[in-house]
């Protein structure tokens, strides 16, 4: 390591260790580190080229200055604290990050955050509420269409879209149109049953 900053940093840690009388650096540094964390700010400043986006998120109008490199998934999770959408691959291969843009399902990891300007974004946090579950959420519980639950927000967003697209008329069709969402726990049988249960309710609603 050639950076002089690092050398200086290491020396500080060694001195502190000696002062604290502990054997290894780390134990002595804990209280200091805890203070440093407590005083740091809530949100990191964006440090790349930034762009401003105006959009609706779960029905709320929002304006945000974002890093032009950011994916929609990272913006939702790291900037907005909406952690329902999950990262399972970051390559559009697993579906765990599925959200709706203007009512259509997308892989938010493959969507640049800058592209949502003027659009309407819905995440799992905007579906159902603690008092009233969405029929698809209830159906997932009824059919135990989840195990670890990590793929579940993406499955539910995809499932609602699958019904709205008109691709839920037979179990075979559901299986085909839900195959972009991997469930490694293997809850597929329950997922198909849940969609069959919820589809007529969603279509009526």
């Amino acid at each position: 390591m050639s950076d002089p900053h690092d050398r200086q940093f290491l020396e500080i840690t060694r001195r502190q260790v000696l002062e604290a009388g502990t054997i290894v650096a780390v134990s002595g540094m804990l209280p200091v580190a805890a203070q440093a964390q407590a005083s740091s700010s809530q949100l990191a400043p964006e440090n790349g080229v930034t762009v401003q986006v105006r959009f609706q998120i779960n029905g709320q109008p929002s304006v945000l200055e974002i890093d032009a490199r950011a994916s929609l998934l990272d913006m939702l999770r790291e900037r907005l604290g909406l952690v329902g959408a999950k990262k399972g691959c970051d390559h559009g291969q697993c579906g765990a990050c599925t959200v709706h843009i203007d009512g259509r399902r997308v892989a938010s990891c493959l969507t640049l955050a800058a592209k949502i300007d003027g659009r309407d974004v819905t995440t799992i946090e905007g579906v159902g509420s603690a008092d009233t579950l969405h029929p698809m959420q209830q159906a997932f519980i009824d059919h135990d269409a989840l195990q670890c639950g990590y793929c579940t927000p993406g499955q539910i967003m995809a499932a609602i879209a699958c019904v709205k697209e008109g691709h839920a008329s037979t179990p075979e069709e559901i299986r085909e149109y839900m195959s972009g969402n991997i469930c490694r726990c293997g809850a597929y049988v329950g997922i198909v049953a849940a969609i069959e249960q919820a589809a007529p309710q969603i279509e009526r609603g």
Partner: protein
């Protein structure tokens, strides 16, 4: 308080999960969080000559770049990745200028934002001096261990085999596979309440926290391991990851919280996987199909420094009443990343090889494969001579055959044809998994308001351990599931034993049950009379106490109080399959129906029927899900999954979910599950054995045997692909 059979309730955490409110390790709201990104090694073996950080340091937002210079103080201990508790094994990257496998981290970039960390990591330039290596166990430079890892025998198997009327001598090859839970492995180190808190979706919070403290030379009481919800584990998260200590040390050196979400492409090289293995199976039977001899030799790939054992031979001799047995398991060392436990780590590959060989034997003898298995049913373990605590394998076979309509199967391959011309094949296979338990320290609090809090050992990774704990509390205390607060996976609440090996239920259920029973007893003492049918918290309220608390240590069968001390230090102590009086296993029979499109060779698994003997079923709904999940893993292994290593470069070529193909929804047909549901009280007071792994054992063989029944072709490697069937 009778043990209710096959309760069917919603999963207790389903509500949070469908609302997207369940917080996993990478979801924790932490102020001032920095983001990390690792730089993976691009050689398989050698030395780091120089690292040029100029460009990376200039990326705006990069706070600091760590290399081996910064982490040389980190100690490689028996807790390091790949050590499996053995001293002098294991390996922690970035503690020196060496590379022992492709893809290991050689630098860690920490930045104010994730975007800056990623850009910084891409700008780090490393110069290496490469060394010769071997990435395949068939390679000349691979080193075969001189002594076998394990050997089981009974009787003179060689002679019995040589004189048997029917003999099978076959070799099956099992490929490398990767767990790929959908949750990426993430590590977040933060300072809270004067302690260092590490959030990682681990299956072993205490071993993790204690192990990290040891590697960093830290007082273990200052470090808290938190595994909130785990987004699938399957064995990949049962130890310290290569990244864990790097992130923890970076946070300490920077005095800021740091989060690293390891990209999947890197996880294929840093996280564990199921190693490649070869299995030679010899079976000898008499005219009536009675098994006179089994001989079973396996070799399994391992890294140069890894302590992960080769134990394929442990289960097969227990499956049937072999007259004589001889087994040996051996390791071959190569220069790849370190393998480890993946769902039914040895039981799955060994059941694949031996249960396919049983199908070959059935054909040679001219017997129905179900009948052959029932005819060789055993009530005692051929190796130790001990009886089984419970064994309903023959019932699993009989019930499964009926549910599946097995009688339509023809011995003649290709005899059944679907309306659309597809060839239909039917196959059967069985499996077993040891009945195992671990200690726990459980604190249970009942409040007069009706709230009930329990802190115990266990990690929720989707298997439903919270639902199991809830089931016992509901059963014994009649508490309202909505008012239950279950605190697991956090060393701040209770010591956490590693949750793996299908011992979760067998450990958590008796722990919750005995705490609940003790709480009733204490309340009884307070009220001075027998408890009534009235809700229990109202009876507590009448004693004018706001809360009643009990703490119970559960010590598994055959162990002593010392295991509680080990538990507190994060050292695993498990039991089984051998106990003083008996052997304990869960059992399963799988039946598979495949349809083969003859012109393209495409195989579809239309239907599977699985009947399990896992002792008492704690929650029918979650148990069925667990079995379906295991069957899907079996289908994936049969038809889809293989980690392709490039012998020229030593890396996994297909290191993402588009190229490492796991089953998707369209691959899965009907999976019907049933249970024997007979409690095994010899093992524990909850009457449970285990389910998560036995669910998978034998499932692959059932599919492979069905492919044979459809085509007449014995494919002795996995996965079976279109090119094998054209």
């Amino acid at each position: 308080m009778t043990q209710e059979q096959t309760a069917d309730r919603p999963r207790v955490d389903a509500y949070e999960k469908v609302l997207g409110r369940a917080l996993y390790a990478a979801d924790q709201p932490i102020a001032g969080l920095l983001h990390g990104m690792t730089v993976p090694a691009t050689i398989a073996k050698g030395r780091i000559e120089a690292i040029d950080l100029t460009a990376a340091t200039n990326v705006r937002g990069v706070v600091r770049i760590f290399t081996h210079d910064d982490f040389s103080q980190i100690k490689t201990t028996p807790a390091a990745r790949g050590a499996y508790g053995r001293p002098s094994k294991g390996y922690q990257p970035m503690t020196g200028p060496i590379v022992r496998h492709r893809g290991e981290p050689v630098a860690l970039v920490v930045a104010e934002t994730l975007e800056a960390a990623i850009e910084g990591a891409e700008a780090v330039k490393v110069r290496y001096a490469e060394e010769a290596f071997s990435a395949a166990m068939e390679d000349d430079r691979a080193s075969r261990e001189p002594e076998p890892e394990s050997q089981l025998s009974s009787g003179d198997a060689e002679t019995a085999f040589a004189t048997a009327s029917h003999r099978i001598d076959v070799e099956y090859l099992h490929p490398q596979q990767h767990h790929n839970p959908i949750e990426l492995i993430s590590t977040t180190a933060a300072f809270e309440d004067g302690e260092l808190r590490i959030y990682e979706g681990t299956q072993a919070a205490s071993a993790f926290a204690g192990g990290l403290a040891g590697m960093m030379g830290m007082d273990p009481t200052r470090l808290r391991g938190v595994s909130p919800y785990t987004g699938g584990g399957f064995g990949q998260k049962n130890g310290i990851q290569e990244q864990s200590v790097l992130v923890a040390s970076a946070a300490i050196l920077l005095r800021r919280p740091v989060k690293l979400v390891m990209p999947r492409g890197q996880l294929f090289h840093t996280a564990s996987y199921r190693p490649r293995s070869r299995h030679r199976v010899r079976l000898g039977a008499d005219e009536q199909g009675r098994l006179l001899a089994g001989l079973y030799e396996t070799v399994q790939q391992n890294s140069r420094y890894d302590g992960f054992g080769c134990e394929h031979g442990a289960n097969p001799p227990r499956m049937y009443g072999y007259g004589a047995w001889l087994g040996s398991d051996r390791i071959v060392r190569v220069d790849t990343q370190t393998p480890g436990h993946q769902r039914a780590p040895h039981e799955h590959p060994s059941s694949y090889a031996t249960e396919c060989a049983m199908d070959e034997l059935a054909e040679a003898v001219g017997m129905d494969p179900v009948e052959l298995r029932i005819a060789n049913d055993a009530q005692r373990d051929p190796i130790t001579g001990k009886p089984f605590s419970s064994r309903h394998l023959a019932d699993c076979l009989r019930r499964g055959a009926e549910l599946f309509d097995w009688n339509r199967r023809s011995r003649e391959p290709g005899a059944l044809v679907a309306e659309n011309g597809d060839l239909i094949g039917l196959g059967v296979a069985c499996g077993s998994y040891k009945g195992s338990m671990t200690p726990a320290v459980t604190t249970l609090r009942l409040f007069a308001s009706g709230r009930c809090e329990i802190a115990t050992s266990g990690h929720e990774m989707g298997q439903g351990i919270r639902s199991v704990i809830a089931a016992e509390l509901i059963d014994v205390l009649g508490v309202d599931p909505e008012k239950l607060d279950i605190r697991i996976g956090d060393t701040g609440h209770a010591p956490q034993h590693v949750t793996a090996g299908s011992w979760g239920t067998g450990s958590a259920a008796p722990a919750a049950r005995s705490a609940a029973v003790k709480l009733r007893e204490e309340l009884n003492l307070l009220t001075g009379s027998a408890l009534s049918e009235e809700p229990i918290h109202l009876q507590l309220a009448r004693t004018r106490r706001p809360v009643l608390e009990v703490t119970v240590n559960t010590i598994p069968l055959g162990k002593d109080a010392q295991v509680i001390e080990q538990l507190r230090r994060g050292i695993p102590s498990t039991t089984g399959p051998e106990y003083p009086e008996f052997m304990a296993f869960s059992w399963i029979a799988h039946f598979a129906e495949v349809h083969l499109e003859a012109s393209t060779g495409r195989v579809r698994v239309k239907r599977v029927v699985s009947v399990a003997d896992c002792g008492r079923v704690m929650n029918r709904r979650t148990a069925e899900s667990q079995v379906r999940g295991g069957v899907i893993w079996g289908i994936g292994a049969a038809l889809r999954e293989v980690g392709e290593t490039d012998p020229r470069f030593g890396g996994v070529l297909n290191n993402d979910l588009a190229e490492y193909v796991v089953p998707v929804n369209a691959d899965i047909g009907a999976i019907d599950v049933d249970f024997i549901d007979q409690p095994d009280f010899k093992l524990n007071p909850s009457g449970v054995k285990g389910l998560g792994e036995v669910a998978m054992v034998g499932a692959t063989a059932a599919v492979v045997n069905a492919v044979y029944n459809a085509t007449g072709r014995r494919i002795r490697h996995l996965p079976i692909r279109i090119e094998d069937l054209l």
